[in-house]
Structure formats: structure tokens, C-alpha cells
């Protein structure tokens, strides 16, 4: 009988203890912030949307290899010596590769940061921008190449011409050096 009343009292008392705690919290300072108006400062190394600096990118494809989810598409064309449009990297050295296509699909990106770690020229880095949600998945497909499609076509054409010229020269040179050698057409 005594334990019966003791149990009732303990149950009642422990509820009161809890209510005392919650009562104190009613007047405590609130911790939430009004998000779009107030913002929490993100640390500078926060891993959010990726950003490519085309002036640094050498098109080495190490980021493509490092990406676990294959969200980077990278296409490059070598810079031809007689291209009228020559460019320097950010550090002053002349550009060796045209990046004709550098596209990232942030619908796939898992924000692991492995591409940033892999990049030898620090061309790719995370930004603190996380508010890029969109109603259309295609809006998450970011294109970082600076060349317009026409320019890219032009570079490809130049490279193809250069390649053909090189091959012709090589052939001519080879024929000059070794006249007995079989013709390439015969080999095919």
C-alpha cells in the first residue's frame, strides 16, 4: 500500500520536474534564425556547388578520373601553333589545351571534394553557394567552357587540319627518308 502511494507520488513528481525544465526553456534565448533574412556564415571550405576557373584548367582529366559518380564531362583539343587566338594560363604560361567542353551535372554530384583534391592546378574549387535548386533537372547542368560552340568547332577544325598537315609532312618526310617503304594506303 505504501509503495502504491509512493509510485503515484514519484510519477507525479517526475512529471513536475520535467515541467519545471520546460517552463524555464519558454523564456530561454531562441536559437533558430530566420533563414532567408538571416544567414549562418558558412566556413570558407564548405563543400557546396563547384566552380571551375577556366583560366587555370589545363584539361588534364584528373578530376574526371577522381569523380566517383562521373558527373564531369571533359573534352579538350590541343592548341595548334598557328592558331591566331593564343591564350595564357593564369600563371603566365601559354595554353596547351583548349577546353572545348567542361560540363558538370550537379544532379549527380555528391560533393565529396575528390575532384578538388585531385586538381593539380587548383582550377576547380567549392563555393559556399548552396541555393541553386531548380524545378528542372536540366538547370542543374552547368557548362564551364569559355569557348562558344562555334569557336570549339573552329578549334577542332584547326586541330584536324593541323593533324592532317602533320601527317602529310610526316609522310613526306618518311618518303624522303625511306623511299622503299610501302605506301600507307597499301597498309590499310
Amino acid at each position: 500500500m505504501l509503495t502504491y502511494f509512493k509510485n503515484i507520488w514519484i510519477g507525479f513528481y517526475s512529471a513536475l520536474v520535467g515541467m519545471k525544465i520546460t517552463w524555464k526553456h519558454i523564456f530561454a534565448k531562441k536559437v533558430t534564425i530566420q533563414y532567408p533574412d538571416e544567414r549562418f556564415p558558412l566556413p570558407s571550405n564548405a563543400r557546396n556547388r563547384l566552380q571551375l576557373m577556366p583560366a587555370r584548367c589545363t584539361g588534364c582529366t584528373l578530376c574526371v578520373a577522381a569523380c566517383p559518380v562521373n558527373c564531369i564531362t571533359l573534352e579538350t583539343v590541343r592548341v595548334v601553333p598557328d592558331d591566331p587566338h593564343q591564350e595564357l594560363y593564369e600563371n603566365g604560361t601559354p595554353r596547351k589545351m583548349w577546353v572545348t567542353r567542361y560540363e558538370m551535372d550537379f544532379a549527380k554530384c555528391c560533393f565529396c571534394g575528390l575532384c578538388v583534391a585531385a586538381c593539380p592546378s587548383d582550377a576547380i574549387h567549392h563555393t559556399t553557394d548552396f541555393e541553386y535548386s531548380s524545378l528542372d533537372r536540366s538547370h542543374l547542368y552547368y557548362k564551364f567552357q569559355t569557348l562558344t560552340p562555334e569557336q570549339a568547332e573552329e578549334k577542332k577544325r584547326l586541330f584536324a587540319e593541323f593533324k592532317a598537315r602533320e601527317a602529310r609532312e610526316k609522310e613526306a618526310k618518311a618518303q624522303a627518308a625511306k623511299p622503299d617503304a610501302p605506301r600507307p594506303e597499301a597498309e590499310v
Binding site: G11, P43, P68, A117
Partner: protein, 383 residues
């Protein structure tokens, strides 16, 4: 006679039809997309069949197509609540295979982030357990505190949840100037909230009535099912890899292994499992304090490792004490930069298998609590 037995006898005298209820995959308290097929006799659970696989992402097969560093982000997504702890055994396995010596500072940093993450994990475990019992307020108290831990981890690694912080031979981010003060702050906050929640929830009479003596897991059953972590320790078995098989630098710290003592209820019941987590948070705080004291603040955070990681031919099993139990990775290497086979031994998956064994004969509301006290993460159960 225990209350459970009394209920058993009372109900065995009644003839009634049994009802099958599907709990999940869309249910507020299955902690993810778990589906439990429950057979109830009135309110008494007579059978439970867990159905898994709603979150299956074929992690292990996927790993066979990825290089070793690429696997780490995927490991984060196994047990996304304690990602730091998950990465550790995997990275340790690679380091052991490559025979890399990790810098002293990195070891301390790893201990600190892992213990911080352990606290964050236990906070969620206790919070959601309270939520299962119907107490909403402690849930948000813990989420408020967890935010401070996440801020530290975010400043270190750059991400809030899926850190990808551990790298082979080091970590991804160096400490920042206010790191130590912030850690001490967080510890103080964790202790304060824990003391508050002790009064608000853990020692609340209703909560004790709900959880004590419910879902009793005896040590024998726990060992037979291969349980580990707080689930095993709640049954009174002091088994902790950090002490029994000290990896990294855990042998340098002084900490206790909390076990279920049965202050309230029976050893191995939901209340004791939950209490072990409360005590473990305190022990983690102690470890962090000691580590902060001993940690060298200068130095590099990466060891010299080859750019392209190729493991020698062979196999390795590496395990570590995850907040949820023993997490192990078994890696078979064929000498390339991709594993031949990677097998993960997940604690949640193993602990979950004990549910049908311990939840029969309790009431339907208790089943939810038993599930909550096991503390599973479906990302790891289904992988």
C-alpha cells in the same frame, strides 16, 4: 512474476484472431524505410518479420568498379549519421595494406572527430528514442546541440553530414585556430543538455514505465546474434574494441566502458540500452578532453602516399568501434587500384536481426520502442 509474463498469461486465456500489420516502409517511426510485418494478437506482438532492401544501393558491388579513394564517399552514405566513424576502419585497412605511418597529429584529429561524431550519433539515437516514446522536446534539444558538433566538423571537412574527411594517410582538412575552444564549448553544452534530458526524459516516470523491462536482450542471445555496440553493452557485456583491441591511439586515453547495470528495470532492456548511450556520450567527452590536451597543434595532416593508390595483392579485415557497434571492412585486393571484393560488416544490420527474437510477447507500442532502442540506420542496413 514479471509484468510481461502476466500479460502473456492473461492474453493466452482469450481466443482471438490475429491481425497482420505492415509497419513501414512509410511509417513515422521505422527510422527510415524499414518494413516490419507484424502479427498482433490485439495489442500483443506475436511475430515480427523485418523486410529490408528499400534503400539497397548495391554498395559492395559498386565498390568493385571504383578506385580506393572513390569508395570513401560511398562509405559516408552507409551510416550517414556517424560518417566519420565509418570511414575510419576502411582507411585503417588501406593504411595497413600500404604500410603508411600516419602523423601523430592526424591520429589525434581522427580520435576527436570520431568521438564528436559518436556524440552526435548518440544524441540522435537518444532523441529519436524519446520521440518514439512520444517526447518531442528532448528531440529538438539534442538537435540543437548536435548542430554545434556539426559546425565543428563542417569547419574541418567542409560538409555537414557526409564528410569524406578521412583520406589514406591523413585527413582532408587542418585544424583552425579556434578549434580547441569550440570543442570545449561543445563538450560543456553536451554535458548540460545531457543533465537536463536526464531529468526531463530519462528519469521521467512515464518513460521508465514505458522502457524498463521491455525488449530484454539477454547476453547469450546478444552474443549468439552477433550484436555489438551499445546493444551488447546494454546487456551487461563490457565489450568495446577501443579498449579490447585498441586501434589508433585509443590505448593512451583513460575512459570507461559503460554497461547496462539495471538501475531501473532489467539489464538488457530498452532503458538500459538507452542509458549506455547517455553514459557513452560522457565518456566520449572525456576522451575528447584528453585528446585536445595531448594533441600537437602544428604539423602536417597528410602522410606521403602515392598519388594513385594501388594495394598489394592480398586481403585484410579491419574493424573499429562504430557508435552503433562493430563496423568491419573485408577487402580483397588483386593488385590494381580497384578492390576485387569489398565486404562490409555493418552493426545496424546485425543488431536489427535480433528484433524478432526480443519483441515477441510485448505490446505493439513496445515494438516501436525496441526498434528505437536498437538504433538502426537503414542506409547501413540495406547498404
Amino acid at each position: 512474476m514479471s509484468e510481461k509474463k502476466k500479460i502473456d498469461i492473461e492474453y493466452s486465456q482469450l481466443d482471438s484472431e490475429r491481425m497482420r500489420i505492415n509497419v513501414g516502409p512509410q511509417h513515422p517511426s521505422t527510422h527510415g524505410v524499414l518494413r516490419l510485418e507484424v502479427e498482433v494478437d490485439g495489442e500483443i506482438v506475436t511475430d515480427v518479420v523485418p523486410h529490408l532492401g528499400y534503400l539497397h544501393r548495391s554498395f559492395e558491388k559498386h565498390c568493385e568498379y571504383m578506385t580506393y579513394p572513390q569508395i570513401i564517399p560511398y562509405i559516408d552514405r552507409m551510416d550517414y549519421i556517424s560518417a566519420m566513424n565509418n570511414e575510419w576502419p576502411y582507411v585503417m585497412a588501406l593504411e595497413k595494406m600500404l604500410d603508411v605511418k600516419v602523423p601523430e597529429k592526424v591520429e589525434y584529429l581522427r580520435v576527436i572527430v570520431a568521438e564528436l561524431n559518436r556524440i552526435a550519433n548518440h544524441q540522435i539515437a537518444v532523441a529519436t528514442f524519446g520521440l518514439d516514446a512520444g517526447a518531442f522536446t528532448p528531440f529538438l534539444f539534442y538537435f540543437r546541440d548536435r548542430e554545434y558538433i556539426i559546425w565543428i566538423l563542417e569547419k574541418l571537412s567542409g560538409a555537414r553530414l557526409l564528410y569524406n574527411y578521412f583520406r589514406v594517410g591523413g585527413v582532408a582538412g587542418d585544424v583552425y585556430p579556434t578549434f580547441k575552444e569550440e570543442c570545449h564549448d561543445v563538450i560543456a553544452k553536451v554535458r548540460k543538455t545531457n543533465a537536463e534530458v536526464m531529468n526531463l526524459l530519462i528519469h521521467n516516470n512515464i518513460f521508465i514505465k514505458r522502457t524498463a523491462g521491455v525488449g530484454i536482450l539477454t547476453p547469450d542471445v546478444a552474443i549468439n546474434y552477433g550484436c555489438s555496440g551499445p546493444v551488447l553493452r546494454g546487456s551487461g557485456m563490457a565489450h568495446d574494441l577501443r579498449r579490447d583491441e585498441p586501434y589508433s591511439i585509443y590505448d593512451r586515453f583513460d575512459f570507461d566502458i559503460p554497461v547496462g547495470k539495471g538501475e531501473v528495470g532489467v539489464v538488457g532492456d530498452c532503458w538500459n540500452r538507452n542509458m549506455v548511450r547517455m553514459h557513452e556520450m560522457e565518456q566520449s567527452c572525456r576522451i575528447i578532453e584528453q585528446a585536445l590536451e595531448q594533441m600537437p597543434m602544428e604539423g602536417d595532416v597528410t602522410a606521403a602516399i602515392p598519388k594513385r593508390i594501388k594495394l598489394p595483392k592480398g586481403e585484410i579485415y579491419s574493424r573499429a568501434e562504430n557508435p552503433k557497434g562493430e563496423l568491419g571492412f573485408y577487402i580483397v585486393s588483386n593488385g590494381t587500384d580497384k578492390p576485387e571484393r569489398l565486404k562490409a560488416r555493418g552493426p545496424s544490420f546485425v543488431n536489427l536481426s535480433v528484433i524478432p527474437e526480443i519483441s515477441k510477447g510485448y505490446m505493439f507500442a513496445d515494438l516501436i520502442l525496441i526498434l528505437g532502442s536498437i538504433d538502426i540506420v537503414l542506409g547501413e542496413v540495406d547498404r
